[in-house]
Symmetry: C2
Subunit: 202 residues, 2 copies
């Protein structure tokens, strides 16, 4: 993905648009925001705004050329350029993420996990490899990994973060309840599951 102007809310809906358009591409060579809104049960204003961010305004009376819109959606979702991601920490949460199918919708694939407690490579339920930590450096280098997920306990999080940074990972998704210190060129997204649930309770 390379377009910073798309909001998180819009991004969240793009896979739905893409799925719809692919399923009706044969019947609709062109399609309007109105028709798309009806198919998906979304508001028309929202659809116009979402598609506007992705592909500009449609043509008057015609709307969008379906194949072009599909291409733009695939580009925005990084489908043509699958980004490989690694996880450190193969506990329950790490394994759940490793086997979660939904990331490919966004051009992302979690390709492997690493864990201190693993001595030899093992495999997750869906067949993805879980390597010992000593394989981490070589793997990141070989696959040019840019995104890392941290699902280790709080006490180990900063150390793993440092290791990721040292191996040229520039975006970190952190599930450990620990504020990570990183250089300016590295982005951290802090995931606080407890807080999400707590906020629901307000």
């Amino acid at each position: 993905m390379s377009d910073h102007s798309i909001s998180k809310a819009t991004l969240g809906r793009l896979p739905e648009y893409l799925r719809l358009l692919k399923s009706i591409e044969k019947e609709h060579q062109t399609i309007s925001a109105t028709v798309i809104a009806k198919y998906l049960g979304f508001g028309e204003v929202q659809v116009r705004k979402d598609l506007g961010a992705v592909s500009g305004k449609g043509k008057p009376k015609i709307g969008y050329v379906t194949s072009e819109l599909i291409e733009r959606l695939e580009y925005c979702l990084g489908r043509n350029n699958l980004c490989q991601v690694v996880i450190v920490g193969a506990g329950k949460l790490g394994r759940a993420l490793l086997d979660y199918q939904g990331f490919s919708d966004y051009g992302l694939e979690i390709v492997a996990a690493f864990d201190l407690a693993v001595d030899d490579v093992t495999f997750s339920e869906s067949g993805k490899p879980i390597y010992p930590m000593r394989e981490f450096e070589g793997f990141c280098y070989k696959c040019d990994i840019k995104i890392g997920v941290i699902t280790v306990p709080k006490s180990a999080a900063q150390e793993i973060c440092d290791l990721m940074v040292k191996n040229n990972i520039s975006a970190i998704w952190n599930f450990a309840p620990e504020i990570l210190h990183v250089p300016d060129n590295v982005v951290v997204q802090q995931e606080n599951l407890a807080l999400s649930l707590a906020y629901l309770n307000q």
Copy 2:
């Protein structure tokens, strides 16, 4: 928790304040925002704002009475009134949440999971019960459950949601990639893990 005026960002920091104050209560019977900021490495402006939302302004030259501030934080975090939560769907993610320790920081406890594939009660690693679905109704009634977590596949999500609503659950945290339809008096928080990771990649 009962105070809607606290932002999610502030709420996320409250457990840190509480931990700190409890650890230094003996040495500091009163404490200023400046001192708290130094201990935690937070900005002073942020600390003033956070504590202001929780407990009003401190007294000039003195700051806050530590024991009173602890009391206010505990109130805001619902510590005196633990809220019980149930999960439906005891796959990897459901089990990871069931055994996650961090919810108690926010006055929440996931007390049990339910799963269609379970015939007799089993137990998670941390010893929490996983019941067959037929126990759901009785359990919710007996424990007066108000919050439910959905970690079932997309295809089953609406059905489970309906069941929760029928059993007086009024707040739902949904991990299934499905837009849930609920009555106006029910709150749904949609968790989209794929989207969080995707946004990091922008």
